[in-house]
């Protein structure tokens, strides 16, 4: 049961090989082995979405995924969104519209928003709320988050003036 396995992960464009328990949570491997601590744990049971990451483009709760299952997969965490220090438009919108308060749900929430806008480029408010319903935030009442996503989606069509 305590046998370790080798797992290869393509995280934020970089290949990592780690030795871990087959049933170790992807969340722990990302945080502890890869030191990608922007991935947060809120509940450990797939309810709050703080540990959301993109696996091959899908939005996934990394606390529910055994590391072995992610072998060979391409993973994006919050650290992968602004690799050169240039904020993604969603990150910028979160700063401007107060989408982050305590910040603990923010990485997961931003990744959920990224996934939403990749699926629907200009969502309605209802679609935004639906797209973020798997991510819990206790600080904002979601209002400023919804507003940030609205602005970010508008920016797809109208790039900000220089």
């Amino acid at each position: 049961m305590r046998e370790k396995v080798r797992v290869r992960l393509l995280a934020n464009g970089k290949t990592h090989e780690v030795e871990t328990y087959a049933m170790a949570r992807l969340l722990d491997v990302l945080r502890e082995d890869l030191r990608l601590t922007g991935v947060k744990e809120g509940c450990g049971e797939g309810e709050c979405g703080a540990c959301s990451v993109l696996i091959n483009g899908d939005l996934v709760n990394s606390c529910l995924v055994p590391a072995l299952q992610a072998d060979g997969a391409s993973i994006t965490t919050i650290e992968g969104l602004a690799p050169n220090g240039h904020l993604d438009r969603i990150q910028t919108a979160f700063v401007e519209h107060g989408g982050a308060q305590c910040g603990i749900c923010t990485p997961g929430m931003i990744l959920a928003a990224v996934h939403l806008l990749q699926t629907i480029s200009t969502p309605t408010e209802e679609q935004i709320r639906g797209g973020l319903a798997g991510n819990l935030c206790r600080c904002t009442g979601y209002a400023s988050i919804v507003e940030a996503v609205k602005h970010a989606s508008a920016n797809i069509l109208e790039p900000p003036q220089p």
């Binding site: 049971e45 700063v95 910040g103 639906g130 400023s144």
Partner: protein, 741 residues
């Protein structure tokens, strides 16, 4: 003075960039060389005697660090108001999930198996779980009478008033426990040894509370007890007092092992073991004349404090003072008690007793208005406090207050009259979904109650750096509400500098003064005012030293700082709290200026009630308030929206289920908080009315938004279904009982 440049502007949150990039370091993101992990073994029974502790087979116990009460170097008490709560239970258990044994080991997975192998052998004793059981006195579980604290407040002559009443209306109201549900659970890392003392990094609201508790537990002086707040993922009161407990546990394991110990609760443990909002019961008896003037209010307010005193006395105090609300009534009696039960101790949660008593009051006011035959809004208009009137504690309202105006604007913003008529017509048939609209009017006092701030004597510092920037020194923590940003705005405005020129020191008891706890809607109004006055002091030092002249530029300021530091070594300015003039408080009679300032509000909720599924949906929410000057429009709006969301959860979905004193729905799966699809648009409005003694005129606003949603929503539900609803949470199953009754 120039036009304000920084106050009132939506400057970027100081730590915003770190938060949106995932760089912000919360305690669980930190790791120390040689660090091991800790866990807590807890009682399963609510009350009993500890007979012995058994360490089961199959575990290499010699690999573990094991700590019990016997390992505590100082006093076995989590020092707060009373020292009745042990750090680790010894001999007796007073609530389920009470900590008894601590374990540490390098491997978290091995640690969890070991935790399950420890057995606390107990002999159960009878336990009490409700206010009624505690009040009956059949089983004494705390002190002589199960009462942590009681207050009795009298204004005028209530007994003489009943005879003159045209109507006397009675009502009983209940509120449930509520979990703070910060998304980051409680956690700390401790390094400790007898030579250097104790250092703790952790998620917390009040570093100096943790320091005080650890000094008692370890018998150490302040200079050997160092507490550092790490980025904190929400608090809402839930990290006011509990961090003292978990910090002490980690520090004990570190003290015994000589290694850094990380202790992080998982969600289930955090929900089961840590504090909740106090459940309450309020009984109202109200005398009113036929033209709708309040004659007398007799209010009995009781809260369930759980097994130890913790903060119950002060939660009760705030609940007591807010129980009569923003109304002018000549005769008021409020009797209140905090009772002991065998639940895990209740504790601080945003609003701190006021949401409980205001819920009861605002339901009662609707019932009184119905009895008199007035609309709820007209009845309130006839009774609102005006400038010059006195509150229940005899406090004269000196500042301008215009509750009728606030209510009028909130009703207009929500199209209240139109909707009320429209819904009444719509609801006449046998509708599958009924609509309703309701409101609540209320206030919330900012800062500590009564003489609290005078006792705290908070200190704030500002210092110039060698680079000519200004650094704020406070123990007030950023927990998401915007402390760092608003305090920087206040300093920048006062010093005539740019927002970017201000930085804020990390809250570390070794390097910042005690600016008091981050609680009680006090950070902006009280601490912010101290930042303002310390900043004035800094500026005057430069002027008096002849290094700066009036009308200076930012560059001139920087040069002056550099010269001052070169000449004198350091430039610091401190400011200590002094009460505004005319503040007096009688702790015995509970009379006087309960709060230096109140924020005032009118909230309107529109709801749908599904008559088949019994679900309640909040369709629209208007939150209008007067909080003095708004320092930061985006952050202030965010505080209100978040507070309203928590209030909506409190009203219709958040329910703590306990069995034999243990929380059994201690998961996010079955303790239901609102998601993005459950909440309506929350429309926030501020009326600005600068407060004479606040920084740039600001008052407190953090807790206010928790007070209004529950009564506004239940008033709307009553409007929809035509039946009284007097208990929260009002879940579909509760609604079904009411509709079937």
């Amino acid at each position: 003075m120039l036009r304000e440049k920084v106050i009132g502007r939506p400057v970027p949150r100081k730590e915003g960039l770190d938060k949106v990039t995932g760089r912000a370091q919360y305690v669980d993101d930190l790791t120390f060389p040689g660090m091991i992990h800790g866990v807590t073994v807890r009682s399963e029974i609510p009350r009993g005697k500890i007979l012995r502790i058994e360490y089961g087979p199959g575990i290499p116990w010699n690999e573990f660090i094991i700590a019990t009460a016997a390992d505590i170097p100082g006093k076995n008490a989590v020092s707060l108001i009373l020292d009745d709560q042990p750090c680790l239970a010894i001999q007796v258990i007073n609530h389920a999930e009470e900590p008894v044994v601590l374990l540490a080991h390098p491997d978290r997975y091995v640690l969890e198996r070991a935790r399950l192998a420890v057995r606390i052998v107990t002999e159960p004793l009878p336990a009490v779980f409700t206010i009624d059981e505690s009040m009956s006195g059949k089983t004494t579980v705390w002190g002589e009478d199960n009462i942590f604290k009681s207050y009795h407040l009298e204004k005028g002559n209530v007994d003489a008033a009943w005879a003159n009443a045209d109507y006397i209306i009675e009502g009983d109201y209940e509120t449930g426990a509520q979990e703070q549900l910060y998304i980051e659970t409680n956690g700390v890392i401790a390094v400790a040894n007898p030579h250097d003392g104790v250092t703790v990094w952790g998620s917390m609201q009040c570093p100096y509370y943790v320091q005080k508790a650890l000094m008692t537990i370890f018998g150490l002086p302040a200079e050997k007890t160092r507490i550092i707040q790490t980025e904190t993922g929400g608090g809402f009161g839930g990290k006011e007092e509990y961090p003292s407990m978990i910090a002490a546990h980690a520090a004990l394991l570190a003290w015994k092992s000589g290694k850094p110990v990380k202790l992080i609760y998982d969600r289930a443990e955090d929900m089961a073991a840590t504090t909740k909002r106090h459940p309450s019961r309020t009984r109202h008896r109200t005398a009113v004349t036929k033209d709708g003037k309040l004659l007398a209010m007799d209010i009995d307010f009781a809260i369930d404090g759980g097994a130890y005193a913790t903060l119950s006395s002060v939660v009760l105090s705030r609940g007591t003072i807010h129980a009569a609300g923003p109304y002018s009534c000549p005769n008021v009696r409020i009797r209140s008690r905090a009772y002991a039960t065998n639940h895990p101790p209740r504790g601080a949660f945003r609003g701190f007793g006021a949401p409980q008593s205001i819920f009861a009051l605002e339901r009662q006011m609707n019932r009184v208005s119905a009895a008199v035959g007035l609309s709820p809004e007209e009845f309130r208009r006839r009774n609102f406090l005006q400038t010059g009137d006195t509150t229940a504690t005899g406090q004269v309202i000196r500042e301008k207050v215009d509750l009728a105006g606030l209510l009028g604007r909130a009703l207009e913003a929500s199209s209240y009259q139109i909707k009320k008529e429209q819904f009444a017509a719509q609801n006449r048939g046998k509708q599958a979904v009924r609509k309703g609209i309701g409101f609540a009017t209320f206030m919330h006092g900012a800062g500590f109650t009564g003489s609290g701030e005078q006792h705290l004597k908070s200190v704030v510092g500002v210092e110039a750096t060698a680079g000519g920037r200004v650094r704020i020194l406070v123990a007030s923590t950023e927990i998401g509400q915007g402390t760092q940003t608003i305090l920087s705005q206040i300093a920048a405005e006062t010093l005539g500098l740019n927002y970017e020129d201000i930085e804020i020191a990390p809250p570390d008891t070794a390097s910042v003064p005690n600016s008091g706890p981050t609680v009680a809607s006090r950070t902006c109004m009280i601490v912010g005012k101290l930042v303002e006055s310390a900043s004035v002091g800094l500026k005057q030092s430069l002027i008096q030293a002849g290094l700066l002249a009036g009308g200076y530029t930012a560059d001139a300021f920087r040069a002056a700082c550099r010269s001052y530091i070169a000449k004198f070594g350091a430039l610091r300015s401190f400011s200590q709290y002094e009460a505004p003039p005319g503040i007096r408080w009688d702790d015995e009679r509970y009379q006087g200026e309960a709060y230096a300032a109140f924020s005032w509000a009118a909230y309107v909720a529109e709801v749908s009630v599904d008559m088949t599924t019994c679900e309640i949906r909040v369709d629209d929410f208007v939150a209008l308030q007067e909080v003095g000057r708004v320092i930061h429009p985006v952050l202030a709006k965010g505080q209100i929206e978040g507070g309203v969301a928590q209030g909506i959860g409190y009203a219709i979905c958040e329910h703590v289920v306990s069995k034999n004193g243990r929380m059994i729905n201690n998961q996010m799966t079955n303790y239901v908080m609102p998601t993005a699809v459950d909440l309506p648009p929350i429309r926030v409005f501020f009326e600005e009315n600068p407060y004479s003694y606040g920084p740039a005129g600001a008052k407190g606003l953090g807790e206010l938004p928790l007070d209004g949603p529950a009564p506004a929503i239940l008033n709307a539900v009553e409007n929809a279904i035509g039946r009284p609803v007097n208990r929260i949470p009002l879940r579909p199953e509760d609604m079904m009982e009411i509709l079937n009754a």
